[in-house]
């Protein structure tokens, strides 16, 4: 499922603090995550999300996120069908490039979403990654 399907209703919720992000990391539905982080983000072409087209091993899926949005302060990685859809939240200090590479687990074929907090708003880019073998319970 794509995040747009559950987006606009939450778009005006306030942006989260660390405690809310902890709650969002523990949340088990995409709707809860979106409510806790303050939205699903507006689609933006200024976020580059690199994720494989095909991940044979869902336990190790390389992900890269790079934001060209001015004032980027946070990068979220979300996979809606994972047991906990919010995977990670990276805080980007002022002198740090708004880009991060990491590796995540995916339970099944899904869109990976990068949600970027920039200028007090949330923005989003998504990419479909097909998963051959799930990496959350394997």
């Amino acid at each position: 499922m794509t995040l747009g399907a559950v987006g606009p209703a939450w778009a005006l919720a306030p942006l989260p603090d660390a405690e809310r992000i902890d709650q969002a990391l523990a949340a088990t539905t995409l709707e809860q995550v979106i409510a806790l982080i303050g939205g699903a983000g507006t689609p933006s072409p200024d976020i580059e999300l690199s994720a494989p087209d095909l991940a044979e091993n869902g336990a190790v899926v390389p992900i890269g996120v790079k934001s060209r949005l001015p004032g980027t302060t946070r990068i979220f990685i979300v996979v809606s069908t994972n047991p906990n859809p919010l995977i990670a939240s990276f805080d980007i200090p002022e002198d740090t490039d708004p880009q991060v590479q990491t590796r995540i687990k995916m339970d099944k074929t899904d869109t990976v979403a990068a949600i970027v907090q920039a200028g007090g708003k949330l923005w989003r880019t998504e990419k479909l990654t097909r998963v051959t073998r799930g990496g959350c319970a394997g």
Binding site: A59, P83, N84, D95, R103, K105, C136
Partner: protein, 112 residues
């Protein structure tokens, strides 16, 4: 405590790049032991990197960051000889801190 992190930090053209390989099980709590029970969730929740005391990245994670997490990022400034310190805390309140010195860009690599 866990095993040491591998931290490689290099400086080039005004930027310092940090590559980080953390030794941690990152158990989701959803995997079954061969004897049938679930292996308890065990994962890093907070991780922070500083350069000479200045925070250059901090993150909050769930259990779906891969086992032995890898992260790379870069920041403006820093210099050869600066001290990069990385600390994490997991959901059992276990923690670990390791550090590395920023090197020139041509003599460092990280084995993933």
């Amino acid at each position: 405590m866990g095993a040491p992190m591998r931290i490689v930090a290099t400086h080039e053209d005004g930027y310092t790049t940090v590559r980080l390989l953390v030794a941690h099980a990152m158990e989701t709590g959803l995997r079954r032991h061969p004897q049938g029970y679930f292996i308890a969730a065990h994962f890093i929740q907070r991780i922070t990197a500083t350069c000479n005391g200045r925070t250059v990245l901090s993150a909050q994670w769930g259990s779906a960051v891969s086992q032995n997490p890898y992260v790379s990022f870069r920041f403006k400034g820093g210099a050869v000889g600066d001290r990069i310190v990385v600390s994490w805390v997991d959901n059992r309140k276990d923690s670990r801190t390791d550090e590395a010195i920023v090197a020139p860009s041509d003599d460092a690599d990280v084995d993933e």
